[in-house]
Symmetry: C2
Subunit: 360 residues, 2 copies
């Protein structure tokens, strides 16, 4: 039925073999091969076998690009992460990747490095490549006006962070509640002056965590003291940088809730270096519960966010929307767990709780 002067099909031409080559080999039409590919029940069992065999003989490889041209799903999801050198976001990326695999999707990855311009580029590039949807952990300083047109008509899930003006689905931890519980824990351990360390006011996530901190203070009827709030970079150095001010305060804090674990670890090390015994003299709780939190000395108490689960949930939501065709924004808040270890002072309860968690 098809030209095919040489018995080899397209193979002689150098490229990959096509559906037509397979058809020739199996002695059927390309339409039948297409039906086999799509797993249709229309095709007779014997024919299906003949076609399948021809495929493996020719080393046929499906050309998804051609298929998408006719409207088939591309099977590609874009994943734009703001900072892959932060272990928390790596965990999230792993969760995303994992969930994509089970859903037969394949993820494009891009690291925006907190650079909005680059983020714009990569999102555009992902669209060009036919990504069906996007999981986005937006870079700080993103211009919604520039980004929005690139996202039209495609389901997007913002994960962990969210941009104020951008109406998409959101998967995020219960930051406020987590921070509230952590702060309450410090207060319950007898700390009357609890500092809040790390991040900047412009960060939405910090606003949430800070709100939880305030709430816990209110609930304990402790007056909020502005001078116990420290804005810093959200890395080791940021945590360490706070120590001099923290210690020279006229009425020093005896505990701190940190914006994230990296800040908390920086703080712990610098406090240790300054001769403050974290865990007894001073209580510290971090946020995220990255793996390293278990290995610091003293081990770091933290509000566990489970980045992997967050990533997984984001992809699952995205896949659900892709399957249904209904891209109506949806918000999923993931509960957090307060993991008590030695750093917050009640060393006694540390072992038990931490063991329990590792069973998960």
């Amino acid at each position: 039925m098809n030209a095919g002067v040489d018995g080899q099909g397209a193979k002689g031409r150098g490229g990959r073999s096509t559906i037509v080559d397979v058809a020739d080999r199996a002695g059927v039409s390309k339409s039948t091969v297409s039906l086999v590919l799509s797993g249709s029940s229309l095709v007779a069992e014997a024919t299906r076998e003949r076609v399948t065999e021809a495929m493996s003989e020719l080393g046929y490889i499906y050309h998804r690009g051609a298929a998408t041209l006719r409207g088939a799903r591309s099977g590609v999801i874009g994943m734009v992460i703001n900072d892959l050198s932060n272990p928390f976001f790596v965990e999230m990326a792993i969760g995303i990747e994992q969930a994509c695999q089970v859903g037969e999707y394949i993820p494009f990855i891009a690291n925006s490095v907190e650079n909005p311009a680059r983020q714009l580029q990569v999102v555009r590039s992902m669209r060009e490549h036919g990504a069906a949807g996007l999981v986005l952990s937006p870079a700080i300083g993103t211009s919604v006006a520039e980004l929005k047109p690139l996202l039209s008509g495609m389901p997007v899930v913002q994960v962990m962070r969210r941009l104020p003006g951008l109406k998409t689905s959101i998967v995020a931890p219960e930051n406020k509640d987590g921070a509230r519980r952590a702060t309450a824990q410090l207060i319950a351990s007898g700390h009357g002056r609890v500092a809040f360390v790390g991040g900047f006011q412009s960060m939405v996530v910090r606003q949430d965590r800070f709100a939880g901190y305030r709430l816990a203070l209110d609930e304990a009827e402790i007056a909020f003291d502005e001078s116990l709030v420290f804005e810093t970079m959200t890395n080791y150095a940021g945590g360490a940088a706070v120590v001099p001010q923290l210690l020279s305060h006229h009425a020093p804090a005896t505990a701190a809730l940190c914006f994230n674990d990296v800040v908390a670890i920086g703080l712990i090390r610098a406090l240790g270096a300054a001769g403050v015994a974290v865990g007894s003299d001073f209580g510290v709780i971090g946020f995220d519960d990255i793996e390293e939190a278990q290995h610091t000395l003293p081990a770091l108490s933290s509000v566990a966010v489970n980045g992997r689960a967050l990533g997984t949930k984001a992809v699952q939501l995205l896949m659900r929307q892709l399957a249904s065709g209904d891209f109506e924004p949806e918000t999923i808040l993931c509960p957090t767990t307060l993991v008590i270890r030695a750093s917050c002072g009640t060393a006694a309860s540390a072992t038990a709780k931490s063991e329990a968690r590792s069973e998960e």
Copy 2:
């Protein structure tokens, strides 16, 4: 020239707008638009502007899938990493991603989780999606026979690891030389009995590092002692697990070269817990120099591999091959740097060296 009854072009139909819609709007033919897209110098400046404007008015998005059908480069590179929960490989992934960006490529990512079956799946999937090349850090236990046919006709760079029977380009650190220098350093500090800890004999990378260890012993005319070699998992637990045997040895080692930093850190912690003062009683050197190495107590000396550079070099090699069309395998070995910190005993020199490095 084209149907287009409604002024809106394809927009009314729901989908994205096409090259023909742009052509209609700009009052030219689709061929001209195609020329503009490819940046051809044939098209007159005024026309180019008109077309560009029409594109942005319509929110036109280039459909790469359609283009590849006619033979255009796909602009996609696959990146298959064996274990993303290992910070070293994350560094490598970051390097790969970064290099792809500058080369206008976009990387598919897959985490094989050291699972050969999954690796097979994802490689197949990447081919289907038209990946032009592959950066592969192969999973342990990969069957070359199964993998090879999936790779035919496509340039592949194995990075960090290499599969014995698979002839592709390779980018790897100078493992043997690094291990030799590290071992020599321990010997020079007066350690006569140096253990080798971590990994399994089947791992090619370990074979290389082990060879370097043996070489240093030979050069120092120290007899090799089989009982000082410990095979373990390459994670924290693996490092820790070795300690009982290490300490109960009839003639215990006083230093250890570890397969990688994660093993070394596990070892240091467990030794610390057992009351051995690492840095004075016992010398430890790791491999990779992950960020955490700077933060352990004592800080970990390590053979720095620079995973990021490794990833970058791999992609650059791949892009070079893609550009030239010459897929002849090539091997690039990257030199390592021995970074001395407190863990190997010569605490005096630690500060200076480590400062110097952080300037990079």
